[in-house]
Symmetry: C2
Subunit: 285 residues, 2 copies
DNA sequence: CATTCAGTTTGCATCTGTGCAAATGTAGCT
DNA sequence: AGCTACATTTGCACAGATGCAAACTGAATG
């Protein structure tokens, strides 16, 4: 499928005759004719037909020309100079993410600002997990979830399973079951159904010494030796203070998603961000 | 500007090397190289650069590749068969218009249904002038206005000036001024500021025998000889029962617009409708 | 430091696609 | 009916784009 032939088709639709099309494109009549024919063999359908000496688009040809028109509309966005393209990579980019992500990927974020000095990053972190992208509170969201919001588009950058971890000092104690250890769980305000269900079944409530409402707090408290906690393996394994003290837990798997609105999906800044992060997160995949 | 070269650029971005790109496209390495170079001279900027033996896209090249990607996304909509394209021209098309338009352009509407038998037209006419396109009460609106709603897109199909017309029997009476004739005016519910202001200045209220709320009613009543009325010239001149009894009135000019939502602007049915009507209305322009 | 590998560049013969010009076809006009 | 204007089709010679093969470059490896 040759896009150049679609250009010819579009020009022909506008000009109406081979002659005018040829003049417009600065090529010969015969070439126009033959390019349209080649398009037909590519597409497998008749695009023009000869009605008493004049060529007119078939209904099919008109449809094809329509999408060519849409393509042209996109092509207008071609940066026409280097300056033009640089402008696309400047401005503000608001990113909604968890502090946990900042904690583990500060280097990656930093590398981004070095690589694209004209882009001002605004990190909207905090404990509320759901920053509404649809309300434009951020351009991009980095979310940890099993399934992202359907109205958003993006990619799965990291996959992680979960297990119970604890500081070495705790792990080295002797204990008959995990229920004997001190634990760190979720605050009631956090809607963590899977975790809550598991904890209820395996851990006596009195053993849950801390209830926190953010993943980063869970992680830091666990590293500080406050108790055992269910943590994502990809991250926990990178800490030399933590030890895995259970098998992999099933049903906990989540993914790290890079997400944006449909409208922004072709935005240069957003794409630069996605490319940078998707590549940078490869070691975690 | 050759779109085919953009295709090559896009493929190169995805494959990463000339070699792989060449295989993917089924052409030779050297051709890939030269096509990219030709793109550079077309665009006037460097698209790839040689960093220690490997070719990588420049920042500018990445931007260009992005729009190529957007073009590709559009190209996916290319109907791949005649059946495919026919499907695009079937279904329902709701049109909001004035009865006046139906009255004068019934032939044109009819010709449309003959030409596109698979499109079921739904005409939403009536006296309320503003059918909300943004609420999807209709796909297309044919509106008579000076300026269309800014959120809508479309084209100006007919331009008309206005003058006072009356049935020949009335026009043939002897009268000193237009104020002596019986008149047809707008109902109070119709927001016709320009007309109301003119009438107030030139016509005694008691002479306004009829007040109607739709343009078609104005037209038909005038043709029936009920009184004088301000009518659009393009239409009034086509009636052999009506005579122009004033100069052209200034400040009354309006246009007939074909309008749709931005989202639907590339829809096949809508475009077919626009093309058909814009051409069919040429004699009125 | 030589060797290999993966990639890009360049020179040259070839072939495809292009432009030109003549032929052909259709509608409209006198 | 013949003429004109405008349009498409076709045959042929040629230029430019293509593929091939060889030369070239840099990085990694032992």
């Amino acid at each position: 499928m040759n896009w150049a032939d679609l250009q010819v088709l579009l020009a022909f639709q506008r000009e109406g005759t081979l002659q005018k099309t040829a003049v417009k494109l600065g090529i010969d009549i015969s070439t126009v004719s033959r390019r349209l024919r080649s398009l037909e063999t590519d597409l497998g359908s008749t695009v023009i037909e000869n009605v008493s000496g004049r060529l007119v688009l078939t209904s099919y040809g008109e449809q094809a020309a329509r999408t060519a028109e849409a393509m042209e509309a996109e092509s207008e966005n071609l940066p026409r100079s280097v300056k033009d393209s640089e402008k696309l990579l400047s401005g503000v980019l608001r990113i909604a993410l968890l502090d946990l992500v900042v904690f583990f990927h500060a280097d990656l974020i930093n590398a981004f600002t070095v690589r694209y000095p004209q882009i001002a990053l605004e990190l909207v972190s905090g404990t509320t997990r759901m920053h509404s992208l649809t309300r434009r509170e951020a351009d991009v969201a980095i979310r940890i979830a099993k399934q992202p919001d359907e109205t958003l588009v993006g990619m799965r950058a990291v996959h992680s399973k979960y297990a119970v971890y604890a500081h070495t000092s705790i792990a080295n104690q002797s204990y008959a079951s995990l229920g004997e250890l001190p634990w760190i769980g979720w605050d009631a305000a956090v809607n963590a159904r899977v975790t809550d269900a598991w904890m209820e079944r395996h851990i006596p409530t009195r053993q849950v010494r801390y209830r926190v409402n953010s993943p980063i707090a869970q992680f830091l408290m666990t590293e500080a030796g406050s108790g055992a906690c269910i943590l994502p393996i990809v991250y926990a394994e990178r800490s030399d203070k933590l030890v895995k003290i259970s098998d992999v837990l099933s049903g906990f798997d989540t993914d790290l998603w890079l997400l944006t609105h449909r409208d922004l999906r072709r935005n240069a800044r957003v794409q630069a961000f996605f490319d940078h992060f998707y590549q940078g997160l490869a070691p975690f995949r």
